[in-house]
Symmetry: C2
Subunit: 384 residues, 2 copies
Amino acid sequence: MNNFNLYAPTRILFGKGQIAAISQHVPAGARVMVTYGGGSILRNGVLDQVRQALGERLVAEFGGIEPNPDYATLMRAVETGRAQHVDFLLAVGGGSVADGSKFIAAALHYRGEPWDILSAGGKVESAVPLGVVLTLAATGSEMNAGAVISRRETGDKLFFSSEAVLPRFAVLDPSTMFSLPQRQTANGVVDAFVHTIEQYLTYPANAKVQDRMAEGLLLTLVEEGPRLLAAPEDYEARANVMWAATMALNGYLGAGVPQDWSTHMLGHEITAVHGLDHAQTLAIVLPAMLAARRAPKRAKLLQYAERVWGLREGSEDARIDAAIDATRAFFERMGVPTRLSGHGIREPRLEAILGKLEAHGMTALGERDEVTLDVSRAVLEAAV
Amino acid sequence: MNNFNLYAPTRILFGKGQIAAISQHVPAGARVMVTYGGGSILRNGVLDQVRQALGERLVAEFGGIEPNPDYATLMRAVETGRAQHVDFLLAVGGGSVADGSKFIAAALHYRGEPWDILSAGGKVESAVPLGVVLTLAATGSEMNAGAVISRRETGDKLFFSSEAVLPRFAVLDPSTMFSLPQRQTANGVVDAFVHTIEQYLTYPANAKVQDRMAEGLLLTLVEEGPRLLAAPEDYEARANVMWAATMALNGYLGAGVPQDWSTHMLGHEITAVHGLDHAQTLAIVLPAMLAARRAPKRAKLLQYAERVWGLREGSEDARIDAAIDATRAFFERMGVPTRLSGHGIREPRLEAILGKLEAHGMTALGERDEVTLDVSRAVLEAAV
């Protein structure tokens, strides 16, 4: 096991009716701005519950944070927060709202040009305290320090991370997801699955607890994901998937082990060039990536085959093939295509995607820096 | 899954050489008192590393905190802390030192009689900030809010819990355990194993992530525990056991699920009456407890049999028998007897033990309050 520094201080308030509990975790006398995205939380009663829990502490609302939250939008929220002397943020939504609100929280305290936080490594020493009411299980942002922010004006998509923006609490009420569209439910399951794989399916590091936890999350997603498509209001299945998605990226899986993340990096560029959803790109890249790197990942692929898919018969190569096939079949069963052609993209813009990878310095990805542009090209060609 | 409120903000600094990292996590200018137990940390270099990391922040040392830390000892530490205007505590040792230091931290801030914290539910609103350098993996105290304190003068053994005493950080360097006596190593493995069982082996609550995590910890302890007896300086095995023991009681396993803890309650009284180590009592009680409650625990016993011990053949009853036998055999393999007679106790003082249980109100234990004094009697009789 490698050394690690694990810090996951976000309080999780999990279950039915827990939105009311935020009243105990937002300071009395706080001046709270609620941030959110589209209108679904207006329709399903979530925003009403939040307003009721906050009472007079609610001094501002800022809606319209879009998927892949835009810098310009967020800076308007910063203006609102400043004007209202806001000293607590409550993000109500999915990963984009959480990520965007982390940036707002940091920018409200930042001395200097906030764009530097994203583009120039400007250090975020403090931030307005932040809570999250999660309404879409997927990204894990509700319990970690990272955020991805886009700037449409310049075509940038940048990441920052700071312990100062770790949410103070996150409310996870599975019933808030009953009305999600199938596509978002499925994308969330795929996203959590691939987050887990990126921290697990590398090379053996003798981290037995982390391996078993990862396998447990994968098994849970495989069992419960398809159930959600059949029964969107199955509370227990929603609960298991919601908790699995948070656990997949709160730091516990990745503590003390090598990490990959090459599937994510290729996926980001596919989204930039072809406009697919983030999880859609992961479902396309991962099976091809595993096939291309079956040699360096051999030991963990065999472990994955046995412990997640129960594959114990046949030659090692046959088990690896079967595990990759099972991964692909799982995504397809979730209604998420695993080839670019599944989205009608029969001639992907390979040079544009590879050019972006190169421009972003993504020329030696993966747990052993082995994913060169040539490997990325082969993966993309195999993913058509 | 049941609702839960999970808060585990302790920063984990894990691995070789991490004691040096405490210098980054104790405030500059802090006035630190180091608390510890016996002399082992003097001999193995751990205290020297701590002194070096703290430098001028170290203003007091308080040694001599005993196993089952005594109120009188701890109150002497409080006096030292007050005299030295201490504003940070660093506990260096195992669970007893961590527990004792939590009480010292609370008592230093408490207005009123500190004994009330233990005996009268005195609420701990704040405490001196506390860090832990763990040198014995077992109790999980390094990452939770609880502490058990004894008062030899009155024969009391009492518990308190407060988020104010959650350690700010815990250093887990597996190599600090290389020189542990076999008995302490074995006790630690059994303690972590039974902590896990108490939160897992109850009745199904459809908490798939928690179940898989628990099974992962059990499998890790079963695989790595015996290895440690054969090779006490196996860093990887120490690391896996150390991390498993912390994860076994930091709140994640018990979140959203029923919990038992009857084995612990019986064990406490056996320690009080017969003086066995805490883990020794757990190894004696658990197999008998599982056998006595095989009906209400049937579904989880079958799951445990399959997923932890690989038992898939034979009748359900045969698999349950085999799982209980395997549990017993594991403890024995760790060198920890699983019957009172294994410690030479052929005529246990049943009435004294049951009398204490009754006096402490322990007359309806377990996840469904089903462990009456009659059940406890039967368990104890079966454990001779």
